[in-house]
């Protein structure tokens, strides 16, 4: 099959249970999808295993891969499992407890036993340095070499090999931080030193400090991982460069990622949204609500033409200042456990059976009924399960688990399973709708795009409750993150905090600020040494009315940048969002931001052939019990569906990476890019 001249693009998404591998042949549009079990200890080994399978089963030679991009959860796991390096921290005199005090607010309300937050750096490894700059950069306490070196030496004696430096006001005036770093680097060359201002020079000392601390905390493991991956991939025969995905939905070379691993923390959810946005762009549907439902989580995002960004992101309880694709967690996924509370009321989640022991029907030791067991017991999922029969489902185990609560409810296993799905749907609904309100969007103008292993299974049940224009299931919904890796652009963000009244700012200063950011951005792209088809800059500023604290991010139109223009853009946008604008009110400019995008060449999706071999399995039938009654559903194979096909629910569509359930009342059609489109039957 593979011609000598064939060129392939490879996207890999390493998840908790599976490593998704997606290959696209550049000329033909042929897609090859693989799921390989993830290796927790040596995550790179699952990639190598994927490469071997590609060579052996699909005749894709590693040498023929011309683009290789991947995302990993290693960073986020290292952080959440508190398994990182010993970091030492130097702070300004009087501010040793920057990490201890956090922003005060605890994440759990109404809980007298809310856990005491434990800092990433124990207090003994935080040392104050005699130094202080004022907000205007004036030296209040000069910095001294001897005290910096003494502090660093103490940290090193305590075992720290990573030192983060965070001094007040360094986002504007970084000379003390730079000086301290230079002294330490000279005296202790084998210690990894990072300053808060070099990573992310934004005002807000706790959050900025945390960025540098996290970078040090996860850095050692990430650098080792990236280095090993490069070596092993080369041994396996690949010749192209390897990229890593970022929280902002872009990619960077793994060499750069080793220095700034903190930028990869939220890359997993971001890649899926990038994949969804790519599909939306291809098919000309620019208003999408994405629903990513896997075994342990449900995430959502809203795409309106552009991929949405948020500057207020969190990983666990840690705020992460860096811009990231705006994704919200809204539930616990297919592994959510169903249970009865003391009053006998049926509940679903928030606890998940996770990958181990997993749903009962997976036969990995799980005995509690889960949402996945409900799919299995109702006939929604085939006993053959996913991955071409590699993950068979034990329906009896599902029914036994369901009976444990069904008996108490006085319901059959089917009725219990049906109730579980209805409660699960109500759970997702209750989380999703307020998130739409937060973004100010109305569902009925949007398509609901489902992905993840369980997203396509559940999406129509949700669509029944939610007014959306239509439902969209892309060709390989279980590997949409890998598709996102494969099509992502080079992307980097730069920030400078101004925090200045617009009237006190001159055009010259404003233009100079942005010119500086743009120069940094272009320099970054230059250093990536990648051929891009196009480069563009997104310039924006966070602004608010003086005395108010609701800020808006204003993306600049393609017009000359002046303070007057900036003020006008802000008033206009404010009026659009809040319905009125007080144009006499002074304006404050907070953050100046530049994002650079180096557009990579995209595969030709118009010719996409998502399924290498069309299934010859005939359309069959199966009894499905759902929404209070038993119906006969047609069972179809996704790979047998062709553009232009239409059929009505109740139906089940089975494919390698997921099962799509289409209830009664919906009709579906297949578009020319092999997307499955569902609409309510009139």
């Amino acid at each position: 099959m593979s011609k000598d001249s064939a060129r392939f693009r490879l996207g890999v998404d390493i998840g908790g249970t599976f490593t998704d591998v997606l290959v696209m042949e550049e000329d033909s549009g042929r897609l090859i999808a693989l799921k390989v079990p993830s290796n927790r200890k040596d995550p790179e080994d699952s990639i190598i295993q994927g490469l071997e399978q590609l060579r052996e089963r699909h005749e894709v030679a590693p040498e023929a891969i011309h683009y290789f991009s991947h995302g990993t959860t290693l960073g986020v796991n290292t952080l959440l499992e508190r398994d990182g390096a010993e970091v030492g921290l130097l702070t300004t005199k009087g501010f040793r407890d920057i990490l201890e005090l956090r922003r005060l607010r605890l994440s759990k309300a109404n809980d007298l036993f809310a856990p005491r937050p434990i800092s990433l750096v124990p207090r003994r490894r935080v040392i104050e340095v005699e130094e202080r700059l004022g907000q205007d950069g004036a030296v209040i306490i000069p910095i001294e070499k001897a005290s910096v070196l003494a502090a660093a030496r103490r940290l090193i004696e305590m075992g720290a090999r990573n030192i983060a430096i965070c001094f007040l006001h360094s986002y504007r005036h970084d000379r003390h931080e730079r000086q301290a770093k230079a002294w330490i680097a000279e005296a202790f060359p084998d210690v990894y030193v990072i300053t808060s201002s070099e990573l992310w020079p934004q005002q807000r000392e706790y959050e900025r400090c945390l960025v540098s601390v996290i970078n040090g905390y996860i850095g050692a493991r990430m650098r080792t991982y990236f280095d090993t991956l490069q070596v092993k991939a080369k041994q396996a025969g690949t010749q192209c460069r390897i990229f890593s995905t970022k929280s902002n939905g872009g990619v960077m070379g793994v060499e750069a990622a080793g220095d700034r691993p903190v930028e990869t923390l939220l890359s997993g959810p971001a890649s899926g949204v990038i994949g969804a946005a790519f599909i939306g762009k291809v098919i000309g549907d620019e208003r999408l609500i994405t629903l990513d439902m896997g075994g342990t989580s449900v995430d959502m995002a809203v795409i309106q033409g552009e991929v949405p960004y948020s500057n207020e992101n969190t990983v666990g309880d840690y705020p992460v200042l860096l811009p990231a694709v705006d994704v919200s967690a809204i539930g616990a996924g297919g592994g959510s456990v169903a249970w009865l509370d003391a009053e006998g009321v049926l509940k679903v989640g928030p606890r998940s059976a996770g990958a181990r022991p997993g749903p009962a029907c997976y036969s990995r030791g799980g005995v509690e009924p889960t949402v996945t067991d409900a799919y299995a017991a109702l006939g929604i999922m085939s006993p053959d399960g996913l991955l071409g029969g590699e993950m068979k489902l034990d329906i009896d185990k599902a029914r036994t688990a369901l009976a444990t609560i069904g008996d108490k409810l006085g319901k059959t296993p089917e009725q219990t399973a049906d109730a579980i799905l209805q409660v699960a749907t109500a759970n997702i609904y209750a989380e999703l709708v307020p998130q739409l309100a937060r973004r100010g969007v109305d569902g009925n103008e949007f398509s609901l795009l489902a992905y993840g292993a369980a997203g396509p299974t559940h999406v129509f049940m949700l669509a029944r409750e939610l007014n959306v224009r239509r439902v969209l299931v892309p060709p390989t919904p279980g590997l949409l993150c890998a598709l996102g890796c494969l099509v992502a652009d080079l992307r980097a963000d730069f920030v400078r905090s101004l925090w200045q009244e617009a009237d006190e700012l001159s055009d010259q200063t404003l233009q100079k600020t942005f010119a500086g950011l743009e120069a940094d951005a272009r320099d970054w792209l230059e250093r990536q040494k990648v051929d891009v088809t196009q480069t563009y800059l997104i310039r924006s500023a966070d602004m608010c009315y003086a005395g108010q604290s609701f800020e808006l991010n204003i993306v600049f139109p393609d017009e000359p940048l002046t303070v007057e223009a900036l003020k006008r853009w802000f008033h206009d946008r404010y009026e659009l969002v809040y319905g009125f604008a007080d144009r006499s009110n002074p304006i404050r400019i907070l953050e100046a931001r530049v994002q650079i995008v180096g557009v990579t060449s995209k595969p030709n999706f118009d010719a996409v052939r998502p399924f290498t071999v069309a299934s010859r399995k005939p359309v069959t039938e199966r009894r499905v019990y759902e929404h209070g009654k038993a119906v006969t559903a047609s069972i179809r194979q996704r790979s047998a569906l062709n553009p232009g096909d239409t059929f009505d629910g109740p139906a089940v569509v089975e494919q390698y990476d997921t099962t799509i359930y289409i209830p009664e009342g919906f009709k579906v059609s297949i578009d020319r890019w092999h997307n499955l489109i569902g609409e309510r039957r009139k």
Binding site: F95, L101, L104, A109, H169, E343, Q435
Partner: protein
């Protein structure tokens, strides 16, 4: 009885979606600082009978369960039509729903085919509603009319038509009219959202199912609450604590509780609580069952014991309350109420203190008790305009818990407050320099589980006439108590120009004017410890020493842990020390509560029976006399004790008669702080 155990969870999720969506719509459209930074707003759904049947657990204030809407619904009577929106902020006529004038409530009936189904309800804390001071609230206000404009319950919209005459009159009487209207519009947007969503839900499930669902979710929460309460041994539990109103010349104000647990209900009798005061500390609860500002502690306890508990007014049905009229927490109409938060938090502490006697392993030791916001106003020398900014929330540590240490510098109960980045503050207020913001080392009470440390905020001003305010300061006299062998935390302090020859301890702040070059240092309270300090693993104590939470001296003297910074923990010496300390206790049981020497001396001087006698004798008097003679009795008995006389509770009537025989018209002079 709930028959549909599946439908219940589905509908309660759908109701939850509506209130969360309302809260998001309100938050997104509002634009004032109170909403954004302190989340002081709320959105709920209310049954036709006036009970909150769904409330957000994530957005806005997390205290709306137990807001009584029944009185105001009754007052508005049958004149309720589609398109109406009601408004009020009046504590006097709403029977405990409004508790100060800054909280403005807007609500809207939801109809289906002409039938009233429920109400959508919102409130926002407005930055200013008029009155004698900017921001409307001052602890020293003596009557409600000083605290802003009162809006008795009325229609803002009548069948969709705005009453502009009323609106203009209201806004003209506030300092921030435009912003207030913006916040009202945000409420209106939220109410419309709820109306639309309820209509969809009624369409989907039908009126009978929704009406039944409303009844069911309330009953369900009540069942859960009763089940948790049933786990508490029946009995009577007494506790009292004191509001330190010395700052407004009112001495110590006692909150007294007799908590009776019986048959899955809690009965809270606050007889013996101090009379209402001529200061803004009164809490107008109207003695309502489960009043929201009385039961924060209990609701937190229920939610901790049963994390999946339904969050609605059904929870508070079993919380019966009795409060004599005319007391601090059930004042007569017209009392100043602006700064009622201190009082509310103290009530929470008192209930926790009583409940902890029944279920000691379910409640934390006392927290810092101070939910104060430290503000500074600085005049700009060129424009003469005054700039106001929050410096930090001045809160302290939480108490040790039966499962974990207290949280350092953070209260677990008031945990939604956020601090202010120093970089932001200094940029905003260039004449203010923050010299320190960190933990107050060695301030948490010792215990098996250590109390959270307080914090230190120290700043310097470079501007003349810098005015500092910090309402709701508390626990400068009596520290947070330790529990079950844990030792008390530490009291707060305020030092003007510390480490200089001008150093002065100035206590709680009402209003303080600072000059250029002055430095102010505030140390907030460390929480009480929980459990026997000698039971805390020595390694953990030593870790605390290495991390500087605890001093070597405290480790040795309170925990019996010895070591040396260079050689580490000395296990043998520790064992010996702990054995000696255990022996020195002589088999005495651990104290259930350790209040610390200052408060124990106060108890010695002012036994409970004395407080009871004074409260009882003034209770029947008209308000002015009640306040006057209450203070006069304390001052006279204080004087008598100082003079070496022995005073018993039985003598109180005689002392009163003597005072009254003197010059009854003369009110005792207000003491300066």
């Amino acid at each position: 009885m709930i028959d549909d155990k599946i439908g219940l969870e589905i509908l309660s999720n759908r109701f939850q979606a509506i209130v969360d969506e309302m809260a998001q719509a309100l938050f997104r459209t509002a634009h004032t600082v109170f909403i954004k930074e302190t989340q002081d707003y709320g959105a709920v759904l209310v049954s036709p009978g006036g009970e909150v049947f769904a409330a957000s657990r994530r957005y806005g204030v997390l205290m709306m369960v137990g807001m009584p809407m029944d009185d105001v619904i009754r007052i508005m009577g049958d004149d309720v039509a589609e398109g109406d929106i009601f408004i009020t902020n009046d504590p006097v006529s709403t029977g405990g729903m409004c508790t100060h004038l800054n909280d403005v409530f807007l609500w809207k009936p939801v109809f289906r085919r002409g039938k009233l189904i429920c109400y959508a309800w919102t409130f926002v804390h407005m930055s200013d509603v008029g009155g004698r001071v900017s921001g409307s609230i001052a602890p020293s206000s003596t009557e409600l009319v000083q605290e802003g404009i009162r809006i008795p319950p009325q229609k803002l919209f009548r069948a969709g038509k705005l009453d502009e005459t009323f609106l203009n009159m209201f806004l003209a009487n506030t300092r921030t009219g435009e912003q207030n209207w913006g916040d009202m519009k945000a409420c209106i947007a939220a109410l419309s959202t709820a109306e639309r969503r309820m209509a969809e839900l009624l369409e989907r499930y039908g009126t009978p199912a929704i009406e039944k669902g409303i009844v069911n979710v309330l009953d369900y929460a009540e069942m859960q609450a009763r089940r948790v309460i049933s786990g508490v041994p029946d009995g009577e539990y007494r506790f009292s604590d004191f509001i330190e109103a010395d700052m407004v010349g009112q001495g110590m104000l006692r909150i007294n509780l007799k908590l009776t647990i019986a048959g899955g209900e809690m009965h809270m009798d606050f007889t013996g609580t101090a009379p209402q005061v001529r200061a803004a500390l009164n809490l107008p609860s109207f003695s309502k069952t489960g009043h929201w500002m009385l039961i924060t502690g209990v609701v937190n306890w229920l939610c901790t014991q049963e994390p999946n508990i339904a969050y609605n007014a059904g929870l508070v049905r079993p919380m019966k309350v009795h409060i004599p009229k005319g007391t601090l927490i059930n004042p007569e109409p017209g009392a100043a109420v602006g700064a009622r938060y201190s009082t509310s938090h103290k009530v929470c502490d008192v209930i926790i203190g009583a409940l902890a006697q029944a279920v000691p392993d379910q409640l934390p030791a006392t927290d810092s008790g101070q939910g104060s916001i430290l503000m500074v106003a600085v005049p700009d020398p060129t424009t003469s305009e005054t700039k106001v900014s929050v410096i930090q929330p001045a809160v302290g540590g939480s108490g040790g818990r039966p499962v974990d240490d207290g949280v350092d510098g953070t209260m677990v109960i008031l945990n939604f407050l956020k601090n202010v980045p120093t970089e932001l503050l200094e940029r905003e207020m260039p004449t203010i320099l923050i010299r320190q913001y960190g933990l107050r080392e060695d301030s948490g009470g010792a215990g098996r589980y250590r109390g959270g440390t307080g914090s230190i905020i120290e700043f310097e001003t470079h501007a003349p006439y810098s005015t500092v305010t910090s309402r709701n300061m508390e626990r400068y006299v009596f520290p947070p108590a330790g529990r079950l062998g844990g030792t008390p935390g530490t009291t707060g302090y305020t030092l003007l120009n510390p480490d200089s020859n001008r150093a002065r301890d100035i206590g709680k702040i009402d209003i303080l004017e600072m000059n250029a070059g002055d430095v102010l240092r505030i140390g907030t309270q460390g929480g009480g410890g929980y459990g026997d300090p000698l039971e805390r693993p020595a390694a953990k104590v030593w870790d605390d020493v290495l991390d500087g939470y605890v001093s070597e001296r405290t480790a040795r003297e309170k925990y019996g842990v010895a070591g040396d910074p260079t050689t580490g923990l000395d296990a043998a010496a520790t064992e010996k020390l702990r054995a000696e300390m255990r022996k020195a206790r002589g088999g005495k049981p651990l104290k259930a509560f350790d209040f610390g020497p200052v408060r124990e001396a106060y108890h010695e001087r002012w036994p409970s029976a004395m407080h009871d006698a004074i409260s009882a004798i003034v209770q029947p008097m008209p308000r002015v006399q009640r306040q006057m003679f209450y203070r006069a009795l304390y001052e006279e008995i204080d004087r008598m004790i100082d003079a070496g006389e022995k005073v018993t509770p039985a003598q109180v009537p005689a002392v009163l008669a003597r005072i009254q025989g003197g010059s009854p018209e003369r009110a005792p002079a207000r003491r300066a702080g």
